[in-house]
């Protein structure tokens, strides 16, 4: 992460902050959250609404992990080491939601 232009400065001198990207990410997160609230109040509960919420949550998660946690700038292998195992979560979601539905309709 120390690959920015900082190293060209004299020792002892503190470089200027680079915060443009950080605030851009903040605005993206804030606007998505505001939009989620808008939908929560204006749209009736449906499969579409749930999909929009889940989709926006994943977009927010992407920005937090890629920008705030800097996973975007890490070595590709490290990135895949973290991202690929998350496939198991997708599997568990599908498996257990189907299971819950099956329990409901089995009458127990």
């Amino acid at each position: 992460m120390a690959d920015h232009s900082h190293s060209s400065h004299q020792p002892g001198e503190i470089p200027k902050p680079h915060t443009k990207e950080i605030w851009r990410t903040f605005w993206i997160l804030a606007i998505i959250t505001a939009f989620e609230f808008l939908i929560a109040f204006t749209m009736a509960s449906s499969v579409l609404r749930v999909s929009i919420f889940v989709g926006m949550t994943l977009v927010k998660a992407f920005f937090i992990v890629a920008e705030f946690m800097h996973l975007k700038t890490e070595v590709k292998t490290l990135m895949y080491c973290i991202v690929i195992p998350l496939v198991f979560i997708v599997w568990l979601v599908i498996a257990l939601l189907m299971e819950g539905n099956a329990i409901l309709h089995s009458g127990y």
Partner: protein, 257 residues
């Protein structure tokens, strides 16, 4: 040019592992923090997916939100459960308070990343300033959650009538608020999951605040300045962002859907 290369040399040296190289171009602590967060992501997913399973196991209410009344028959809809704001007693403001909590946590994530950025520039004053804001944000969130829990436990004045089958006849009783056995909002499992999942997340926030205080203390006493780098800020920052990330999911599944 020579000073530049010594700075780079110093930076390089601290990230070399004992085996003499630098796996995945990350130092040991940062890599292990990533793997810990991966395992923690599995813990939280297991909890949230359990919420999904139990929710799908109950009947969903699909009428108009305005006509909804709490009953153990249906899984409650969030805008009816979370509609109170401190100091505004009796006014229905659905999801406003949780919106404030979300804003607090996203803000504290921003101040954390600003502290990490200041650490890259070896700017001690800025690291101290932004760490302090992050700690304040963490405490503000914990305070909000304490209020939220208190309100959830005490419940509304009206309460919900729950019928029990005792000695061959139905007995009606009014239930206020929530505990682990019964609650006025819906099926007992609803409150159990609320306590367990937001509690598990709150514990993470609390440990995060303690770690942040430790980092602030070390930065303020010049430990990292003497060490020549602020990488500890970055490692604890990863943890703090993860806590924010989990809240994004808890927010969606508990409060929106």
């Amino acid at each position: 040019m020579s000073t530049t290369s010594t700075v780079l040399e110093k930076r390089k040296q601290h990230s070399i592992w004992n085996g003499g190289n630098e796996p995945l171009k990350a130092n040991y602590g940062k890599l292990m923090m990533w793997f810990f967060l991966l395992s923690d992501a599995f813990s939280f997913s297991a909890l949230l997916i359990t919420y999904g399973l139990i929710r799908y196991r109950h009947n969903a209410y699909d009428g108009a939100p305005a006509d909804f009344t709490f009953s153990p028959e249906y899984w409650p809809i969030p805008e009816k459960v979370y509609e109170s704001v401190p100091f505004l007693h009796g006014i229905s403001l659905p999801l406003v308070f949780v919106g404030i909590m979300t804003f607090i946590l996203i803000m504290s994530s921003v101040t954390m990343v600003l502290a990490v950025e200041a650490g890259h520039r070896n700017d001690r004053a800025d690291v101290e300033k932004w760490m302090l804001w992050t700690i304040i944000g963490g405490f503000a969130f914990l305070g909000s959650q304490a209020w939220e829990w208190t309100h959830f436990i005490h419940g509304s004045e009206k309460g919900t009538i729950i019928k029990h089958f005792i000695n061959g006849e139905w007995v009606s009783r009014v239930v206020h608020g929530a505990n682990l056995v019964e609650n006025e909002y819906g099926p007992p499992a609803f409150a159990d999951l609320f306590f367990f999942i937001t509690g598990f997340h709150g514990t993470h926030v609390f440990s995060g605040v303690l770690l942040n205080i430790l980092i602030f203390f070390n930065a303020a006493t010049g430990v990292y300045e003497r060490r020549g780098h602020y990488e500890m800020v970055e490692k604890v920052g990863l943890y703090w962002h993860f806590v924010d990330l989990v809240w994004v999911f808890v927010f969606t599944f508990f409060y929106l859907i």
